[in-house]
Subunit: 342 residues, 2 copies
């Protein structure tokens, strides 16, 4: 098959890990006789430096014209510590998610057996845990109105969801549950938030269409606790953009390290594949970043965007072999001495 892939490496370790992801794509093309062509595009801090815009039009145009996007990371400490910055690297990531309508972010959380002891959580709690998160990605407080009032002394953001936004992600999550253990946990804060009450209403309305799926609702605070206490109780988890951001980073500890976690952002058009870790400037250029999240993002791309199941499995098997052979980056070397960032 012929496929055209846009590589958007972005900031910090995004460059290093994406380079490895691309090598894996090349190896797959060679082995399975596919033809992968590539283009590159700018995003984030890198794009601001080059063009003043965290998400140049060209990046969107190239992305839309591609069959899939291999994404790195965005972010820079310079902006983090300047609360008044008007232009930020993160606008690049949020902008491309919105422009391409990538409303469903799939984050599979699964521990490679070889890494059982790399986590800070006990192996007997982790063994067998296998969670698929569906994080809504183009709504919520990420995209609601925000601003200042009272001469800048009051700041607000708007959490907002419309019915159709909830429906489309919830349906994707139910469909996935049908192919797995048929359990769906919807996470909200419906005891306080109106947007969560709409979320819960929609889940309740759709549930009868999937009588074989066992549905539970958890408040986000309880879910944050249960993920660590008993990760095996979860199969598919569906939640909003903000709660999904927090819970999936937390859940990275189930997989041993953020450096192991891939994600797929899909919608109605081109899919985008990215590690869930960020730009990690503290370790950039040191050659210690774990590239496996990017490699596993490539596996998701092969599977979801290209329908290449066998190729995808080959990539996952390769990761497994590398771990079995004892190769480790320091984030997965040992739970008690590992660096806290990747």
């Amino acid at each position: 098959m012929k496929k055209h892939i846009v590589v958007i490496a972005g900031d910090g370790i995004g460059q290093e890990v994406t380079a490895v992801g691309k090598q894996v794509l090349d190896a797959i093309a060679k082995k399975y006789d596919h033809e992968f062509t590539y283009d590159t595009a700018l995003i984030g801090h890198e794009a601001i430096e080059a063009t003043g815009n965290p998400i140049p039009d060209e990046t969107i145009t190239k992305s839309k014209a591609s069959d899939a996007i291999l994404f790195g990371a965005v972010g820079h400490p310079k902006y983090d510590n300047d609360p008044s910055a008007k232009v930020r690297p993160e606008q690049g990531l949020l902008g491309i998610r919105k422009a391409l309508g990538l409303y469903a972010n799939l984050r599979p959380i699964k521990l490679f057996d070889e890494l059982l002891s790399a986590s800070s959580i006990k192996p007997e709690i982790l063994k067998g845990a296998d969670i698929l998160f569906f994080r809504e990605l183009t709504g919520d407080v990420y995209f609601g109105e925000r601003g200042r009032k009272d001469d800048g002394d009051t700041a607000f953001d708007t959490m907002i969801y419309s019915r159709y936004e909830v429906e489309r992600i919830v349906i994707k999550a139910f469909d996935a549950a049908m192919t797995r253990r048929r359990k769906l946990c919807s996470v909200d804060k419906a005891n306080v938030l109106e947007s969560s009450r709409l979320w819960r209403e929609v889940v309740q309305e759709i549930a009868p269409r999937y009588p074989e799926v066992e549905v539970e609702h958890q408040f986000v605070d309880a879910a944050a606790m249960l993920l660590i206490k008993d990760p095996k109780r979860f199969d598919v988890v569906v939640t909003g953009n903000l709660f999904g951001d927090i819970l999936t980073d937390e859940a990275s500890q189930i997989a041993g390290s953020m450096g192991m976690l891939a994600s797929a952002s899909v919608g109605d058009t081109t899919g985008l594949y990215e590690p869930i870790h960020g730009s990690a400037h503290d370790i950039t250029g040191k050659g210690v970043a774990n590239p496996l999240a990017s490699v596993l993002s490539v596996a998701l791309m092969l599977d979801i965007s290209f329908g290449m199941k066998e190729e995808a499995n080959a990539v996952v098997d390769a990761v497994d072999s590398v771990l079995k052979a004892g190769f480790r980056t320091r984030d997965i070397a040992d739970a008690t001495t590992a660096s806290d960032k990747i």
Copy 2:
């Protein structure tokens, strides 16, 4: 000393655990020759059933007139699964926090040595962890404007903070850090949210007044990860209402169980002391609820509201002895078989 305490037991296991907390108050009064008088008041589902109002005026009046409040829990599954309910038990809890100006919620997270193996996290990761959370409690998306638009098909909530609200909680957190290991971690999502940018601005402004305190900023997603990966890196953590809700429930796993965690809600007037666990209707009336969070809430009351350090320590020592003697509720019995709720 003479002290007048209002007991607001509320819903579910709130009744059971608060009864034990009160016994401990009685024992302290006897042993240390204090005179504690009590009154009771209604809240939550219990109050709705009796008066139609989750927070009757009388509850507020009695609370304001007291020296401290011993609080149980609110909540009922009936409302959780009815997204259209207009009156909810939680309005009682939010209402009393607001009415009494309880803007600072202190949640100490510390593991009793005896419970090292009760957690799902590895003992070597936990040993020595000692975190004091300051959760802002009367602002944020809990109290911003919320509602529906588009014939009910769009729902919104407003995250909102004003400078003075951030200042007063941040100052309390810095003051506490000065009496501890002099480290403060402020948690926000300033790379996306305007309210978080105001939050970070204020922390940056106040920091120079405390040159001895080492300040770090973490995004909430990273914080959720680091709490599990390396809890020992934290000393005092300060954050907004919603992030504090999520992170402290998650952090309960550091202390072995939610059933062990007490909290103090303080502001300019009467302090309120409550377990961080909820009403837990699934175990209500079975005699299995862990009363230690209520007992430890009593210790916080003695210390913070009454200035009775010795008495407070006696309560904590008593909890330690009970654990050393091998007594356990099932939530702290064994990490792999424990119930997932209390």
